[in-house]
């Protein structure tokens, strides 16, 4: 290029573009991914100084070992009943996903996003919250709803944009909103919710309430600028918020290294803000729950925000509009070293004598019935292809609390 004025003293520069080592056709390779043994990572007191727990951002809290035992300082917080409930939530979510993927392929709706492989993250986290706490989720935390007891049929009504859709046909499938279940309306714009969660948590503190907020973001979306806004505000106002990064290794076709850059982990982002940061095995139900509870205790005790990096793997396609075989190795998912969250929790329950293959089969059958029943009920309210849909009239409602004259005129022009 003619503008170049390279001095002879210097070597020409070169652009570094992060690339995953493995692309379609390559053998998967997770050899550089350091995983500590289950139980190996310490459990700091919730009031330990942020400076003293920087190590937590460079390891991975794990509870379940290969033998299916729960070990180490983060173990032992959940009863067998609670664990069985967790298993059931994850199984339900997985079946829910399967059915909705099928429904989308059948044209019953336009779009779907599944949670495959990441079920433990949202399901376990939800159980560490209390009623009244508020999540600010992305499209990949349906587990918060399922573990929180939100009706499957209502989720499906939303997905089908049918006559009973709580969001009146306005939103893309899976962009749920469920205020009474502590689930903030999902935005299609990545990252915006992260700072909103901090604002909600600040409000709780201003109101001298005891409720806390939980923010959610994907690995890729940590690059968005509002991630920074959230970190700055959470740090300055010491907001009672849990900042969750779900590192599922991929952002559509882009591997996590593009967003992480030269940092060793996403959790390390917290250090520049003095925010305690902790990495957790996102496929380990017990570990996620224990870390979430620890962070919630910090928040509720007035000790401020915690950043959690959930290390997991997006086992499915990004969405029904995506085909990952174009950009990643098909075998990568099987090679993923943290395994499957459902298999691992199941194995643990079996190991401790609280579960069996028979009970598992029975649970699967019950859940299948439940999900099938929910779908039947939802389809009775209509699907995107068959209708009925909410009236176009509904499109003009809720733009404002009270419809202004110009919108009334437009609604009339539209014939509704």
């Amino acid at each position: 290029m003619n503008e170049t004025v390279s001095g002879p003293r210097h070597q020409p520069l070169q652009l570094h573009v992060p690339e995953p080592g493995v692309r379609p056709g390559d053998a998967p390779d997770f050899s550089e991914f350091e995983i500590p043994r289950a139980g190996a990572v310490r459990r700091p007191g919730i009031d330990e100084a942020p400076e003293d727990m920087r190590d937590m951002a460079f390891s991975v809290v794990r509870v379940l070992n290969k033998a299916g035992e729960a070990v180490g300082p983060w173990a032992g917080q959940l009863s067998a009943d609670e664990l069985r409930a967790g298993l059931r939530h994850m199984l339900t979510l997985r079946q829910f996903d399967e059915r909705m993927l099928r429904a989308q392929r059948q044209g019953k709706t336009s779009f779907y996003v599944q949670n495959l492989g990441e079920e433990a993250v949202a399901c376990a986290f939800r159980m560490a919250l209390e009623d009244g706490d508020m999540n600010f989720p992305t499209y990949r935390q349906a587990g918060l709803l399922i573990a929180g007891g939100y009706p499957l049929t209502d989720m499906m009504n939303q997905i089908f944009s049918n006559g009973a859709d709580p969001l009146k046909g306005r939103q893309l499938p899976v962009m749920y909103s469920a205020r009474d279940h502590g689930f903030f309306t999902i935005s299609g714009n990545l990252g915006t919710q992260f700072i909103q969660a901090v604002g909600w948590a600040m409000a709780s503190a201003i109101a001298r309430d005891t409720r806390i907020a939980a923010a959610w973001i994907g690995d890729g979306s940590t690059s968005e600028n509002d991630f920074h806004a959230a970190m700055v505000f959470a740090s300055s106002y010491q907001a009672p918020v849990i900042l969750n990064i779900v590192n599922n290794q991929w952002a559509i076709s882009t591997f996590q290294g593009m967003a992480r850059g030269g940092a060793v982990t996403f959790a390390a982002r917290g250090h520049g803000f003095g925010i305690p940061a902790i990495r957790v095995d996102g496929n380990d139900y017990l570990a996620v729950h224990a870390v979430a509870r620890w962070a919630a205790e910090r928040a509720r005790a007035g000790l401020g925000p915690t950043l959690i990096e959930h290390v997991t793997y997006r086992a499915g396609a990004h969405s029904t509009s995506d085909d990952p075989s174009a950009y990643r190795s098909k075998e990568e998912c099987d090679a993923w070293p943290l395994g499957d969250p459902i298999d691992r929790l199941k194995a643990h329950l079996v190991t401790i004598g609280e579960w069996s293959e028979e009970r598992h089969s029975q649970a699967l059958a019950e859940i299948a019935d439940e999900v099938r029943g929910a779908q039947k009920a939802a389809e009775a309210n209509g699907t995107l292809i068959t209708g009925p849909h909410p009236s176009p009239r509904a499109m003009f409602d809720d733009v404002y609390a009270e419809m202004p004259a110009h919108l009334i005129r437009q609604r009339q022009e539209a014939g509704y």
Binding site: M134, F136, P166, L167, K168, R170, Q171, M175, S177, A178, R179, F184, T185, S187, G188, N189, T192, I195, Q196, A197, V198, G199, W200, A201, M202, A203, S204, A205, I206, A207, A213, N225, D226, H228, A229, A230, V232, F233, S236, D397, D398, V399, Y400, A401, E402, P404, A405, H406, L407
Partner: protein, 337 residues
């Protein structure tokens, strides 16, 4: 009643709103201890404590985004963007979030928030302290957009905005903060205390959103204006002895089409004035609305007098500013049209 500047009127609105509703919280850059670079929030932190009125980090997206979260919680945040020119980093939160949350959640979550920002030029502020970005808000459904032109309205409109259940963009023409500037930049500054609308009620009151005011009745032509341009248009009408009806829109969204159309149908001629750049300014919408509703009454083309389609310059400020002379020329055009 008290004589007030627009700054004092705005401060008084904050004060009364905070006094009667502890859900009202106020924050922004330099808004807390210092009371804002224009002093619109002076004294509030001292009176209501630093968890009701506080400084924010310099991050407009964060200010609005946090405000949205607070509104979702149930507070009523009133946030300040230091200059309208600095609202762009917050634009995603305003457009994609504040404006849409009620609709996309089917009313489960709402966003009762006021986003205040000083707008407009005439203070030698150069391109980043002079902008009038109202049209970037009027295009976004879900937002209300308010522009007061005097202390009496500023207080009542701000109190109405704070009580409004939807997000309100509250644009404060900074050239009017201390007096009713009429575009005659070569004349001494007139303070609000000599203007009838500088007389402000003491207690709380509201000026309803969506209602224009006729500032000067007339029959020869209609001027549609808001903010600083209301005073400039009045001056132009005086200077030119034209029987102009000057309408102060006060609220751009929702707009008061009834008042606008009634006047234009009466006069048959219309001049639209704003300080923002012309192309796709709010004047374009007004022009379209006027010809849609008053086509058969119009005797001449609707004329727009606006800022030019350039950045707001520093040294050439008065060549950019749509002053009384340019408006007078427009009067001539529509009257001869």
């Amino acid at each position: 009643m008290a004589r007030m500047t627009m700054i004092e009127a705005i401060r008084s609105a904050h004060d009364l709103a905070m006094e009667r509703d502890e859900r009202v919280v106020v924050f922004g850059e330099d808004v807390g201890y210092f009371g804002g670079v224009f002093r619109c929030t002076a004294g509030l932190q001292e009176k209501y404590g630093s968890s009701r009125c506080f400084d924010a980090p310099i991050n407009e997206s964060g200010i609005v985004g946090a405000g949205i979260g607070m509104a979702a919680y149930g507070l009523k945040p009133v946030v300040e963007i230091q200059f309208a020119d600095y609202m762009y980093p917050a634009y995603d939160q305003i457009v994609s979030e504040a404006a849409r949350i009620r609709h996309r959640s089917a009313g489960q979550f709402t966003c009762q928030m006021v986003i205040r920002m000083p707008t407009g030029g005439g203070i030698f502020g150069g391109q980043t302290h002079s902008q009038s970005p109202e049209a970037l808000f009027t295009h976004v459904s879900g937002l209300k957009v308010v522009v007061p032109s005097n202390p009496q309205d500023a207080k009542g409109l701000l109190l109405a905005a704070i009580e409004d259940p939807d997000p309100v963009i509250f644009l404060e023409p900074k050239r009017l903060y201390n007096g009713p500037f009429d575009g005659h930049h070569d004349r001494p500054v007139v303070p609000w205390k000599n203007h009838p609308l500088g007389e402000v009620e003491d207690g709380p009151y509201t000026v309803p959103l969506g209602k224009a005011a006729i500032r000067r009745a007339g029959s020869a032509l209609t001027v549609l204006a808001y903010g600083t341009m209301v005073h400039v248009a009045e001056a132009a009408a005086e200077d030119a002895s034209v029987d102009a009806e000057v309408i102060d829109l006060r609220t751009l969204i929702p707009y008061d089409l009834e008042t606008i159309a009634a006047s234009v149908k009466k006069t048959g001629r219309c001049v639209i004035v704003h300080e923002a750049t012309r192309t796709s300014g709010f004047g374009a919408e007004l022009s379209a609305l006027v010809q849609e509703t008053c086509f058969y009454h119009l005797e001449a083309p609707v004329v727009r007098v606006t800022g030019w389609d350039t950045p707001y310059p520093h040294a050439q400020e008065w060549a950019y500013f749509p002053g009384p002379d340019r408006i007078r020329r427009a009067f001539k055009a529509v009257l001869e049209g």
